[in-house]
C-alpha cells in the first residue's frame, strides 16, 4: 500500500468515526463519560495541589464536629469529609486511579493470556486443546470471591509490608478469573476460522503455522477481542470495588471506591454525610456505565457476530 493511500485511508477512517459519533448518540455519551472519568483521574493531583491537601490527609478539626461526625461541606471540602476528616471529593477523584490502575491492566492481561490460550487450544486441537480447555473449566469452577479471600492472605510479608503491591495482587486475582471468557470465545472462533477456506488457502499457498496464526487468524479475532475487553473492563472495575468493599482489595488509607463505600456503610455515617456513600457510588456508577455503554456500542459496530445478526 502506498503512503498516499494510507493517509487517504486514515482520513477516511477519521471521517467515518466523526460520522459514527454523530449518528450514534449512545456511543457519544459512552465516550464522553469515559473521557470524563479519565479527566477525573487526571484532575485529582491538580485539585489536590490547588486545595493544598492530599487524599489521605486528615483534618478532624476542620471537618468533624465534637461528636466526631463529619460535615457535608466545609471550605476546601466541597463534598465534605469522611469520618477521619479526609476530603471526600479528593478521595473520590483519587479512587479513579485505583479503578483504572486495576481495571485496565487486569483487562489487558486477561485479554492477552486468554487470547493466547484460546488461540493455541483452538488451533492445535487434539490433546493440547483438551488440556487447555480443562484448565479453563477448572478456573471457571472456582468461586471468585471465596478464592480471592484466600489468595489475599498469602500476601503478607515481613514488618507489615506486603510481598507484592496489593494492587498487583488484586490485578492478579481478577486476571485469574477473567482470562477464561477470552479463552473460550477465542478458542471457538479459532476452531471456526481455521476451517475457513481462506486459512486453508493460505496453507495451500505455502505459509507456515505461525504465519497463518499471525496474519490470517489473529486479525480476524482482533475486533472480537477488543469488544470482549471493553465488556470485561467494567466488570473488572466492579470486581476491584467488590474486593475492596470486602476489605481484601486496596489497603487503607489508599482511597478506593469499594472501601470508601464499605466505610460509609459500616459506620452508617452516610445518614449524616450522604456524600460518603454517594460520591464514590456515583463515580463508580459513571465509570462502569460509561464503559458499558461504550462496550455495547463498540460491539454493535465491531463485532461481526452481532453485526451479522439481523439479516
Amino acid at each position: 500500500m502506498s503512503e498516499a493511500t494510507a493517509t487517504r485511508r486514515a482520513a477516511r477512517r477519521a471521517g467515518d468515526l466523526a460520522a459514527l459519533l454523530r449518528s450514534d448518540r449512545s456511543l457519544t455519551v459512552g465516550l464522553a463519560l469515559v473521557v470524563g472519568v479519565l479527566l477525573m483521574a487526571a484532575s485529582a493531583p491538580l485539585l489536590s495541589a490547588i486545595l493544598g491537601h492530599g487524599p489521605n490527609d486528615q483534618f478532624p478539626d476542620e471537618t468533624l464536629d465534637s461528636a466526631g461526625l463529619p460535615v457535608s461541606f466545609a471550605p476546601g471540602f466541597l463534598l465534605g469529609a469522611d469520618s477521619s476528616g479526609r476530603d471526600v471529593l479528593l478521595r473520590t477523584l483519587y479512587g479513579s486511579h485505583i479503578s483504572l490502575a486495576v481495571g485496565i491492566p487486569a483487562t489487558v492481561l486477561s485479554a492477552v493470556i486468554g487470547t493466547t490460550i484460546g488461540l493455541v487450544a483452538g488451533y492445535a486441537g487434539g490433546r493440547t486443546d483438551a488440556v487447555l480447555s480443562e484448565l479453563t473449566t477448572i478456573a471457571l469452577a472456582f468461586p471468585f470471591l471465596l478464592t480471592a479471600l484466600s489468595v489475599v492472605t498469602l500476601n503478607r510479608g515481613a514488618a507489615g509490608t506486603t510481598v507484592v503491591d496489593p494492587v498487583l495482587v488484586v490485578v492478579g486475582i481478577i486476571v485469574l478469573f477473567s482470562w477464561t471468557s477470552f479463552a473460550r470465545v477465542v478458542r471457538g472462533m479459532v476452531i471456526e476460522l481455521k476451517g475457513r477456506p481462506f486459512v486453508v488457502a493460505a496453507r495451500g499457498a505455502g505459509r507456515g503455522h505461525a504465519a497463518v496464526l499471525w496474519s490470517e487468524i489473529l486479525p480476524n479475532l482482533a475486533p472480537t477481542v477488543v469488544v470482549l475487553a471493553a465488556v470485561q473492563l467494567p466488570v473488572n472495575i466492579v470486581a476491584e470495588a467488590t474486593l475492596s468493599f470486602l476489605g481484601v482489595g486496596t489497603r487503607p488509607p489508599t482511597a478506593s471506591w469499594g472501601n470508601m463505600i464499605a466505610n460509609a456503610q459500616e459506620t452508617a455515617l452516610y445518614q449524616v454525610q450522604p456524600f460518603m456513600l454517594l460520591a464514590p457510588a456515583a463515580a463508580l456508577f459513571v465509570t462502569v456505565f460509561g464503559f458499558n455503554l461504550l462496550a455495547t456500542r463498540l460491539r454493535e459496530h465491531l463485532d461481526p457476530r452481532v453485526r451479522g445478526g439481523r439479516s
Binding site: 477448572i138 471465596l146 484466600s150 498469602l154 467488590t242 456508577f285
Partner: protein, 327 residues
C-alpha cells in the same frame, strides 16, 4: 449419548480433583497455623504439638492431602475423608464439627436465595428480553435497555445497602413494616415469612444481574427473529405470541441456556456479598467467616461444593443443548 455422558463425567472428576488439590495447597500455604486456631489463646507449645498430631498437621502436605481425601483425621471415631462412604469434607477447626454438616445446614438458605433469584431473574429477563426483541428500538426496548445498563453499573453491595435503607429502614421508621431487614426463615417453618425475608435480597440480585441477561435474551431472540424459520411460523398463520415465545425463544434457547447455567453457578459467588449484607446465614457467610479465620477445611469444602455445583450445571446445560438436537 452414553459415551458423551461418560466422557463428561470423567472430565468432571478431573476438574473437581484439580479444584480440591489447588484449594488444599492454597489454604495450606496461606492460612495461619490451624493448631493455634483450635487451641486457646494461651496454649503451650505442648498443647499445640498434641493438636497438630491429632489433626495430622505435623505431616508433610501430601500426607495431609492424602488424609483429607482418603482417610481423613479420625475425629470422634469417625473417618472424615472425602472418599469415604458417606463422603465427608473433613472437620472444621473452628466450630469443631464435620464440614459436611455445616454445609448441609447452610444449604437451604443459600439455595433459596440463589434459586429463587435465578427463577425470578430468568422470568424477568426472558419476558422483557423477548418483548424488547419484538420491537427493537421501540419504547419497551429502550426503557429496558436503560434500566439494564443502569442497574448493571451499580454493584450489588450498593444496591443492597440502598434497598435496606429505603425499603426497610425508612419504611419501618414510617411505621410500615413491609420487609424485614434481613435474616432467613426456613420454608418449612413458614413459607410466607420465607418469601418475605428473601424478597429484598432477591430483588438486589435480580436487579444487578438481569441487565446483561435480558440483553442476551433480546439479542438472541432478535437474531433468531431475522431467521427464515420464524417467517415460516408466521406463514403457517401463527399469532405473534406463539411466534415469539415458542418458535423464536426455543430457537434462541441454546445461548440463553448456556449463559443462564453459568450465571446460576456464579450466583453462589454473588450470593456471598448479598448474604453478608442481608444477614442470611448461608454458605456464603460460612465461607467468608472460614476464610477470615483460616478455617481451611471449611474453605476447601465450600469451594468444592461450589465447583461441583458449577460443573454439574454446565454439564447439564451441555447435555440438554446436545439433546435438543438441531445445530
Amino acid at each position: 449419548m452414553t459415551r458423551l455422558v461418560l466422557g463428561r463425567l470423567l472430565r468432571v472428576v478431573i476438574t473437581l480433583t484439580a479444584v480440591v488439590l489447588i484449594t488444599f495447597l492454597l489454604t495450606t500455604v496461606a492460612y495461619n497455623d490451624p493448631a493455634r486456631l483450635i487451641a486457646p489463646d494461651n496454649a503451650t507449645e505442648e498443647t499445640l504439638a498434641s493438636i497438630r498430631a491429632t489433626f495430622g498437621l505435623d505431616q508433610p502436605w501430601w500426607v495431609q492431602l492424602w488424609r483429607y481425601a482418603v482417610v481423613g483425621p479420625p475425629i470422634q471415631g469417625v473417618a472424615t475423608g472425602l472418599l469415604n462412604v458417606p463422603p465427608s469434607l473433613g472437620y472444621s477447626y473452628v466450630s469443631q464439627r464435620p464440614v459436611t454438616d455445616l454445609i448441609l445446614e447452610k444449604l437451604p438458605a443459600t439455595a433459596s436465595l440463589a434459586l429463587g433469584a435465578f427463577v425470578l431473574w430468568m422470568l424477568v429477563a426472558v419476558v422483557l428480553g423477548v418483548l424488547a426483541a419484538r420491537r427493537p428500538g421501540g419504547p419497551l426496548d429502550r426503557i429496558t435497555s436503560v434500566i439494564a445498563y443502569t442497574t448493571l453499573s451499580v454493584p450489588v453491595f450498593v444496591v443492597a445497602v440502598l434497598l435496606i435503607f429505603v425499603l426497610y429502614f425508612q419504611l419501618s421508621l414510617a411505621g410500615i413494616h413491609l420487609f424485614p431487614s434481613g435474616g432467613y426463615v426456613p420454608f418449612s417453618e413458614s413459607p410466607g415469612e420465607w418469601a418475605r425475608h428473601l424478597i429484598l435480597p432477591w430483588t438486589a440480585l435480580v436487579l444487578v444481574q438481569f441487565g446483561p441477561f435480558q440483553r442476551i435474551v433480546r439479542s438472541s431472540v432478535l437474531e433468531v427473529t431475522g431467521k427464515d424459520y420464524i417467517r415460516t411460523a408466521t406463514a403457517k398463520g401463527l399469532g405473534p405470541g406463539r411466534v415469539y415465545f415458542d418458535h423464536a425463544l426455543s430457537g434462541a434457547a441454546n445461548p440463553i441456556l448456556t449463559l443462564g447455567g453459568i450465571e446460576l453457578a456464579s450466583l453462589m459467588g454473588g450470593a456471598i456479598v448479598t448474604e453478608q449484607i442481608f444477614g442470611i446465614d448461608g454458605i456464603g457467610r460460612l465461607a467468608v467467616r472460614a476464610a477470615s479465620t483460616g478455617d481451611a477445611p471449611v474453605v476447601i469444602g465450600v469451594t468444592l461444593v461450589g465447583a461441583v455445583f458449577f460443573v454439574l450445571i454446565t454439564t447439564l446445560v451441555d447435555l440438554v443443548t446436545h439433546a435438543r438436537g438441531g445445530r
